[in-house]
């Protein structure tokens, strides 16, 4: 486990921010100030090092005690006909508490990243997929194909930690990287021996056609055109050949980067192509995500309700609907009359601007245009309190540590207090 030496320096610290579970950070804590000394990157440094910010709970922008804030939050939620608990960027304990509260209130739950996550979940539920995890990538992948995603801007250390290292069955020098769609923004995907990735660039809008074409070519189907989306068929043919001759190909994408209508269909074609490839060799998908606790939210929701996200408890049972229970739709249609927004990792993820009473449980330092009815600053899992979170590949639960004493409550503590107050109101 992470340990602290005498100078207030912690080693082996896991990052709850990076999605790929980097757990080798070296961090200095002085008072409430945090400094990433080693193994930081643009994502983790910014997230760890931001100042503590406001720690006092507020009602309509005026500081109040935690008890008063909890009491008002409970009143807002208990009085609502159909409250929405959204955002839900927290750790396992926080998500458990959110679901317990939702079950009691008869609320709807949805996650801040679920618009992106649905692009994967719909595919999982419709046709299934073949996936792999980060240690398998590190030890086996001899070909990495990146689809529609600039990996390094979202996951800066992905290549360093999992590709440009020697694995058990493959060495860094034998790995190849190919980009399809978006080109990489930097040099993370250039191998230590200077090999640049193959880039078959196209516009996002053409990527569905390009991926479909690649699948046809993988299956040796005849095609009647010379290029698609500006990419030569010959280049795609070569890529299909490389996928077929790789021992353990890995196709990665971040659903959050696939910003077009019905991008789930592109994910599905990719996943079906992976199954096709497995008739002859091995190939696996690697959906990249896990930031802002989104995997954590779907995991806990999955085991407690059977459904990953977008679940409604208003009839006393969990009911799942990927469209009807979406945050944006519920708010636009005016179907919910109170909102609880939870964002424990990222102070810039503000609640959607809506005309219903809003309770915010957020990381300190949130700047609101208009103060919500209730704002309760909560601790960051992995900085202000211990906790558990899930990595992008879903299998690995990462234990997070308390690094400083900020006095901030965890989201679970606040949600449990709100539930106690709600219970008192509902039974009186």
């Amino acid at each position: 486990m992470a340990n602290r030496n005498e100078q207030g320096v912690w080693e082996h610290v896991p990052s709850p921010f990076c999605g790929i579970g980097s757990d080798d950070l070296k961090i200095r804590v002085s008072g409430s100030r945090i400094e990433v000394l080693e193994n930081g990157d643009a994502v983790t440094r910014e997230a760890f090092e931001q100042p503590l910010g406001e720690t006092r709970p507020m009602i309509s922008g005026k500081p109040v005690s935690l008890e008063e804030a909890v009491e008002r939050a409970a009143a807002v939620l208990a009085e609502a006909e159909l409250p929405l608990l959204a955002g839900l960027a927290t750790d396992v304990a926080g998500m458990r508490a959110a679901l317990s509260l939702a079950d009691r209130l008869g609320a709807v739950v949805d996650n801040m990243n679920s618009r992106a996550a649905m692009r994967n979940i719909l595919v999982l539920q419709d046709s299934g997929w073949m996936t792999t995890t980060l240690a398998e990538v590190k030890n086996r992948a001899d070909l990495l194909l990146v689809v529609g995603t600039d990996v390094e801007s979202l996951f800066p250390r992905f290549f360093q930690r999992h590709i440009w290292v020697d694995g058990m069955f493959v060495e860094a020098a034998d790995r190849e990287v190919v980009y399809l769609g978006k080109a990489p923004s930097g040099y993370a995907s250039v191998s230590p021996d200077g090999r640049k990735p193959t880039v078959l660039a196209c516009e996002d809008r053409d990527l569905p056609a390009v991926v479909s074409m690649l699948r046809l070519l993988v299956n040796d189907r005849p095609v009647g055109v010379d290029s698609v989306g500006g990419i030569e068929i010959q280049a795609l043919k070569e890529l299909a050949g490389r996928l077929k001759s790789a021992n353990y190909g890995v196709i990665a994408w971040a659903a959050g980067a696939l910003e077009w209508e019905h991008a789930e269909l592109t994910v599905q074609i990719t996943c079906e192509m992976i199954k096709d490839l497995n008739q002859r060799t091995r190939c696996s998908g690697l959906p990249l995500g896990g930031r802002e606790g989104d995997q954590t939210a779907t995991q806990v929701c999955g085991w407690q309700t059977g459904y990953p996200v977008r679940v409604r408890f208003s009839r006393g049972i969990p009911e799942y609907d990927p469209y009807l229970n979406a945050t944006e739709r519920l708010l636009e249609e005016g179907e919910v009359d109170a909102l609880l927004w939870l964002s424990a990792y990222n102070s810039s993820r503000l609640p959607p601007r809506v005309g219903v009473p809003t309770v915010v449980l957020g990381r300190g330092g949130m700047n609101f245009d208009q103060p919500p009815e209730v704002y309760i600053p909560v601790g960051v899992p992995g900085i202000d309190h211990a906790g558990h979170t899930y990595r992008t590949d879903n299998v690995v639960a990462v234990r997070l540590f308390k690094l400083r004493d900020s006095g901030l409550p965890s989201s679970a503590q606040v949600l449990e207090a709100i539930e106690r107050a709600v219970r008192a109101k509902l039974s009186s």
Partner: protein, 549 residues
Amino acid sequence: MGSELKIINGRVYDPINDIDGEIRDVCIRDGKIVESVADDAKVIDAAGKVVMPGGVDMHCHIAGHKVNLARKFQPEDHRHDVQPRVGALRSGTGGTVPSTFTTGYRYATLGYTTAMEAAVPPMGARHTLEELHDTPVVDKGFYLLLANNVCLNQLLEQGRHAEFRDAVAWWLNKSKAYAIKLVNPGGDEPWKGRKNSNVHDLDQPISGFDLTPRKIIKALIDVSNDLGLPHPAHIHCNNLGHSGNYATTLETMKTADGRRAHITHIQFHSYGGEVGKNPTSAARQIVDYINEHPNISADVGQVMFGKATIMTADAPLTWLLRNMSKDKWINADTECESGCGIIPFSYQEHVYTHAIQWAIGLELFLLSKDPWRMVLSTDHPNGGSFENYPRLIRLLMDKPFRDEQAKRANPKAIANTSLLDIDREFTMREIVIVTRAGPARLLGLENKGHLGVGADADITIYDEMEDKEAMFNAARYVIKGGELFIDNHEFRFDHEGSVYHVSPSYNPEIERVLKPFFEDYYSVQFENYPVSDHYIARGVTVPTGQSQP
């Protein structure tokens, strides 16, 4: 806690203590069975009812990343079967892979109070414990997948047996596991290493290693006995589901060489016939061997007609099944520690293979001479949900019912078994053995599966009924840890249940061997890998005993 309870007038079945349907009292204090209680203890009048220990499911899949994937994968599995929020109980969903709360409540409804999750890769231990934390009522634990572990394979192929033993003990400790699990030993490498193949023979070399499945099986059977684990190596044999695989199963049992070993869901491993052709029944050959070899135990892994979810660490098996059904399918390679395949499934009476699987499972129960070593499971949800147990009990206790069911199934399949010729009907005592006393004994849980003084007060009380399916479908009373959880069919309170795990000793020097391996090949730091006590709110460390012969 501290409450006293007395059950009077019930017909008590407690095979471990040789009590077979006597009318007698059972007294409870502080969560344990005691000799007597004070006169003002709360009394349950069990007249016209049977009293027995709570059920013990020694092989099911109820928690962990594979289970949760299977849940999220199949919304259609849950929609038709909901668990409403009632009183203090949480809402949830059922189907073949129920949500965690619902899993606990439904086990309790059937009178089960202990359930062991049967397949967890070490890297998935935390996740499994998170889910078990949210699985109420039942006591639980999990088995650790170690038969496709690259690091262990390397120690074994280099003949470093002492280090192999220490590494296994280290892994059990650091994962908070209960037992060692083998799934398709040696089969991961041929699957992941390009060839999409599998191992089919115990003496076939495993690609990438100077090893065979037999060497892995032998080594893990030896270690579990040497460490004195309460439960021996829990083995899912090679060639699951293939015609003719009974030979592999016999070879696996012989590999134990007289030492204790448990063969799981043995029904799936008892097929005659030729590879690629329809299976025949080899139940007789398997049972004969087990009858004569007291070192071997098994759970049946009965299939039940209707819906199931295949979820297994035997990934190449689901690849094979999927290529037949073309249905939706998940494959998940897992951290160089394991693999996993999931497909929705349905066992149909008219399908030859499904009907013969069903009949072979029943043959195994009915031909076995020792119910203590051939216990009940459906490999939930692989052979069907645990919610089928009452029906399975009726099939065992009620010959006319069984024959009537058999006549609805594929006649050619049934004719290829001896099922219709078997007249045996299980007695109540035998049912209590295969569902409670037997699994508890095989697990080495000395305080479970019986009602003697000092036992855990995990007790079920059923109305005595002619229709055994109806009888076992809903316990009238369930007492868990001395507290009345179900009172006259009503849930009274929530109960967390405990997590059982082992902590065998090992030479700490082994970390010098493991740490460099982690630094080279793992995706987490060695320091962050062990599961800390935070993951277990209520843990019970079961002592490891003397090394077993």
